[in-house]
């Protein structure tokens, strides 16, 4: 299980109950737990939804799953009246390689997620919330189930939450192994008992979502921020971060650093300091080669590109993404050819197969990079990989196709010479590996 770590530069909002035993409802309540939902209810039934959404908008909170969409705005898209029931869906299907922040959050502060879901429900008029965790997180599901049961036994969840006359129920759900299900529309399919393939948008889930009803889908960390924001005020939360990037974020720093861990840093915190100070620098005194800044789907940054602040806009400007906040650090010993192949192998394995550019594209990139890696590649393979990846971009129902293409493009564009040298160096006498030979070898 991920260990708890700390550093003086951390700004603590989400982590304030970590390591305190707050999975226990008594401890959670003692530490201002369920105070935010009561504060919302105290606004009065008329004013409450608008007050919650305005507070969320002023907080500048953006989705922590990866896309970074402003949370308050997302909530405001839900129609006020709906013939079908509305739903809250908490995405705890954390699967982006390099990301384990929700793992820690779910273990250390499950009630914050329950309370956040309740508040989201009050904001949009939903009476049911689902908390979906990936199948591998069984022990976390058990912690969450206990937390939900405790909240029911106190009367916090159920028919009349905190005397408001409003009902809110929570149903917990397990997945069974599928990266694609972390995508919001595939997540809804999975929760409806189907294969996790994406839905075309529009309509967006806020209008037509789970069981056809308006649905707000938020990442677990996003939802866990909500009670804190309501208690401290939207503006105060916003001030912790940078412009249009409110608050703090859980960054999981992994790979070749001295002190890997999940650290809570203000949005906009310098990436260089995150690596060299917070995470203790490169392991064994080696040199930095590259950083994958926000989970496997984010284009790689070279060592000379890390003087940048960790927020959605600065990373986008640098041609990458903040993504899920999983910072993967590569030292000088890493072969980018091998790393790029391992990355595309993952996407090829996890592509749900629904959209042809993604299903075929990931497979052909994997095949092509495999023969490069095996020593039987040609220089034109680099162009082929780039051509395939560019043709996947924007041509699929869900962002998975982009998520596979973007890191691939990052590797071959930024480290093209390494690929060329690798092909040249390995080539001496190695005949080209043909597609037939790849297929026979099981690729």
């Amino acid at each position: 299980m991920p260990r708890l770590v700390s550093h003086p530069d951390e700004v603590i909002v989400l982590k304030r109950r970590f390591g305190q035993g707050a999975a226990s409802i008594d401890k959670y309540v003692e530490m201002e737990g369920y105070a935010a939902v009561q504060k919302a209810i105290a606004q009065g039934a008329e004013a409450m939804p608008g007050w919650i959404i305005d507070t969320m908008k002023s907080s500048g909170l953006r989705g922590r799953g990866g896309a970074g969409f402003p949370t308050g705005m997302k909530w405001s898209f839900v129609p006020k009246t709906s013939a079908k029931p509305k739903y809250i869906l908490v995405n705890g299907d954390e699967s982006e390689p390099g990301t384990c922040k929700d793992h820690v959050l779910l273990r250390e502060d499950p009630h914050a997620i329950i309370e956040g879901a309740m508040i989201a429900g009050l904001a949009i008029g939903a009476k049911t919330g689902f908390i979906y965790l990936r199948g591998e997180y069984r022990y976390l599901l058990e912690i969450m189930e206990q937390a939900v049961a405790d909240a029911y036994s106190r009367g916090y969840l159920g028919k009349n939450i905190f005397g408001s006359g409003l009902a809110f129920d929570i149903i917990t759900q397990t997945g069974a192994g599928a990266y694609e299900v972390g995508e919001e529309s595939a997540l809804m399919e999975s929760l409806e008992g189907k294969r996790g393939v994406p839905r075309i948008r529009p309509p967006f889930p806020a209008v037509v979502g789970l069981y056809g009803g308006p649905t707000i889908i938020n990442n677990a960390e996003t939802i866990a921020n909500v009670p804190h924001i309501l208690l401290m005020g939207g503006e105060a939360y916003a001030r912790l971060g940078t412009e249009r990037n409110g608050g703090t974020r859980l960054f999981g720093i992994s790979g070749h650093v001295e002190r890997p861990g999940v650290y809570e840093l203000p949005m906009g915190y310098p990436l260089r300091k995150a690596i060299y100070e917070v995470a203790g620098g490169i392991r064994g005194g080696k040199q930095l080669k590259a950083v994958v800044p926000g989970g496997a789907s984010c284009p790689v940054l070279r060592a000379d590109e890390i003087d940048i602040g960790l927020d959605f806009d600065q990373l986008a400007k640098a041609g990458s993404m903040l993504g899920s906040g999983g910072i993967v650090v590569l030292d000088e010993t890493v072969s980018i050819v091998e790393f790029a192949l391992r990355t595309i192998k993952f996407y090829q394995h996890e592509s749900c197969g629904w959209c042809i550019p993604c299903r075929e594209g990931t497979d052909w990139i994997k095949k092509t990079l495999t023969r490069v890696y095996e020593g039987g590649g040609a220089k034109k393979d680099i162009d082929t990989v780039q051509y395939i990846a560019e043709n996947m971009m924007g041509r699929t129902f869900c962002p998975f196709g982009d998520a596979a293409a973007m890191p691939t493009l990052g590797f071959v564009k930024k480290f093209r010479k390494e690929f060329e040298d690798y092909i040249e160096g390995k080539k001496a006498g190695t005949p080209l590996i043909t597609v037939l030979e790849l297929a026979r070898a099981g690729h």
Binding site: R3, T99, T174, E192, G255, H256, R342
Partner: protein, 174 residues
């Protein structure tokens, strides 16, 4: 008392399933959890599991099979009593995930997705399991083990083999 006559599941699991199908707006939503919980008890998703789950959810067999084939944790053949799942995705790879996988292969004498002759262990190379900051990591059934070294893997596997570690499914009696 289960609503299904002659259920193949234990009375506890059958009762759990009776309840599970009632909590969702549409009962089909119980399908993925039911397959996983059934696998926990039976060891894999057998033909009999498929038939009973389909019956409980008013689905055709083919609908259950279609969903079953999608999810990587669901299997149609038995695994070992202890299913060792070694992550080799990027964060683990950088900290020796492949060395851990190779060590497990040598130590257990089996390849990826194989089961030892005595049925005690099976081995699987898996994608990211969400333990990146304590890499390299693996799961044995549902339990996480991380900051692994070959020596630490040996100790862990020894303890499982000697029955000293009860995995979480056994502890809960599920």
């Amino acid at each position: 008392m289960s609503t299904i006559a002659n259920s193949i599941f234990s009375p506890e699991l059958a009762a759990r399933f009776d309840k599970l199908v009632t909590i969702y707006p549409l009962k089909r939503s119980a399908l993925v959890p039911m397959l996983l919980y059934a696998q926990d008890e039976v060891g894999y998703v057998s033909e009999a599991v498929i038939q009973e789950v389909a019956q409980r959810l008013d689905l055709f067999d083919i609908e259950v099979r279609s969903v079953l084939s999608y999810y990587s944790m669901l299997r149609t053949k038995p695994a070992g009593k202890y299913n060792v799942q070694v992550c080799t995705n990027i964060s683990c790879m950088l900290r020796g995930g492949y060395e851990i996988l190779d060590h497990c292969k040598r130590r257990l004498g089996i390849e990826n997705k194989q089961v030892t002759a005595d049925g005690q262990f099976s081995l699987e190379e898996v994608e990211c399991i969400g333990d990146c900051c304590s890499a390299p990591a693996m799961q044995v059934n549902y339990d996480f083990h991380d900051d692994l070294t070959p020596d630490k893997v040996d100790e862990i596997l020894d303890e499982y083999a000697a029955g000293k570690i009860l995995d979480s499914t056994q502890k809960d009696g599920k």
